[in-house]
Amino acid sequence: MNPKNILIIIRQAPYSSTLPAAALDILLTAAAFEQNITLLFMGDGVLHLLSEQNATSSGMRNISKALPSLELYEVKKIFLEESALHKRKIENEELVMPLATLSLPEIAEVTEKADQVFNF
């Protein structure tokens, strides 16, 4: 059976919800099943990419530390929404890793091509 195209979108800000951590766990499991994975950060989801996070006193999982290691899991298609950084006046240098961007029409296209979307 051909691998499925799975698109995982993270739109929620860190610490507001456990869904982004759930998304990461689905991603890692699907990667272990050798599915074809795309990860996209939209809207407030880009705040997960800020490099200075420190979860110690929050009781919640911080996914920013796991992101740079995703390549080890053969997850190479990681994008962020084009305007999301600019809107929040965040510079590329503040991110844990450099990422390619997608415009809204490109996001629409990636979404249409996916077999399944997890949009958290």
């Binding site: 929620q12 869904l19 809204l104 029409p105 629409a108 979404t111 249409e112 979307v117 949009n119 958290f120």
Partner: protein
């Protein structure tokens, strides 16, 4: 062809607006399905009416889960940009479209 499933009130989440922004960006034959608190969009108030207008302009179907209007005591007499469906209709729509994508 995506069924976009939205379950949050427009007062509490940008889910619907973000979904509309993606639908505006590229022509498609997708649709929206509003359940749970998202059905508060049908109440005629200022912020909602601006969203109704955006949905009209998109000219894509926007389905409302009837049961979620009923339990909230909201009117079933909807603006022309909406269509009512029950749970059986919701299931059928999930199959009519290629996939269901959540926005929360």
């Amino acid at each position: 062809m995506i069924l976009h499933l939205i379950n949050k009130s427009p007062a509490k989440s940008s889910a619907l607006e973000d979904c509309i922004a993606v639908l505006q960006a590229k022509k498609s034959t997708s649709a929206m399905m509003l359940i749970e608190d998202a059905v508060y969009l049908t109440v005629s108030q200022a912020g909602n009416e601006a969203l109704h207008e955006k949905i009209r302009t998109l000219a894509l179907p926007c389905y409302i889960l009837k049961e979620d209007l009923t339990i909230r005591g909201l009117s079933l007499d909807l603006a022309d940009c909406f269509s009512l469906v029950d749970y059986a209709g919701f299931v059928q729509l999930s199959l009519d479209y290629d996939k269901v994508q959540n926005w929360s």
